[in-house]
Subunit: 104 residues, 2 copies
DNA sequence: TGATTATATAAGTAAATCATTATATAAATG
DNA sequence: CATTTATATAATGATTTACTTATATAATCA
């Protein structure tokens, strides 16, 4: 059982199309910022700002590995959100269609 | 499997605290506008406008019975939303604490 | 150390959103 | 049919949000 405020904050984070797409992406694998930028064809600052919001809201994890910062989902402990995310369309084909190491 | 756009639209509707509370309310029983106004201690136009958005987004049903308009949930066919709604805190006690027929 | 690549942050702006006030419609009732 | 009650709509203003451009930080490598 979650507080209304807590749920509405989480849903607000998920309700943006760009952020929701990021979540759908990360469902398949962790990704660095440049991978996500390539995939979304969005600007780097735009993606960074969305990632920060998701991170601050506790929906994703962040981990730097040398010059790259990798992001991954953090929803295992949030069943009510996990359901939503699990119903998002698979991004697998589009991920595979990307050139590997596009941003290295 | 839902389109990203469709999910983000639904989540945007749910991400407002007032609308999410309305959904939490309607989980227990259908209610007319004046009941909801009483419960939320919000203005009548404010509630009407939120109800309209939820109705337009397909999340609730509307039914007029003489001078009252009753609203009820319409999420049985949307499992990814139902999970979220089912995790909302129960409003039962607060509903029972309301004077019955407050607005008749 | 200087250049390059990856990412973050700041500032500015345009668009979207929510609440309020005022008014309209709709049904019931004396 | 005029009044009252329930609800909807319209117009307005304030706040929030998302994106852009410009710049800062951080790591790597020549």
């Amino acid at each position: 059982m979650q507080a209304i405020e807590e749920v509405s904050e989480s849903l607000k984070l998920l309700s943006d199309k760009t952020r929701l797409t990021i979540m759908a992406l990360l469902r398949h694998k962790e990704m660095c910022v440049c991978d996500i930028v390539d995939f979304l064809e969005a600007s780097q600052p735009n993606v960074s700002q969305h990632l920060k919001k998701l991170k601050t809201g506790g929906l994703i994890n962040e981990e730097r590995r040398s010059q790259w910062v990798y992001y991954s989902l953090n929803v295992e402990d949030k069943p009510y959100l996990k359901q939503v995310i699990d119903h998002l369309p698979s991004m697998e084909e589009r991920i595979n269609a990307m050139k590997p190491q596009d941003c290295t």
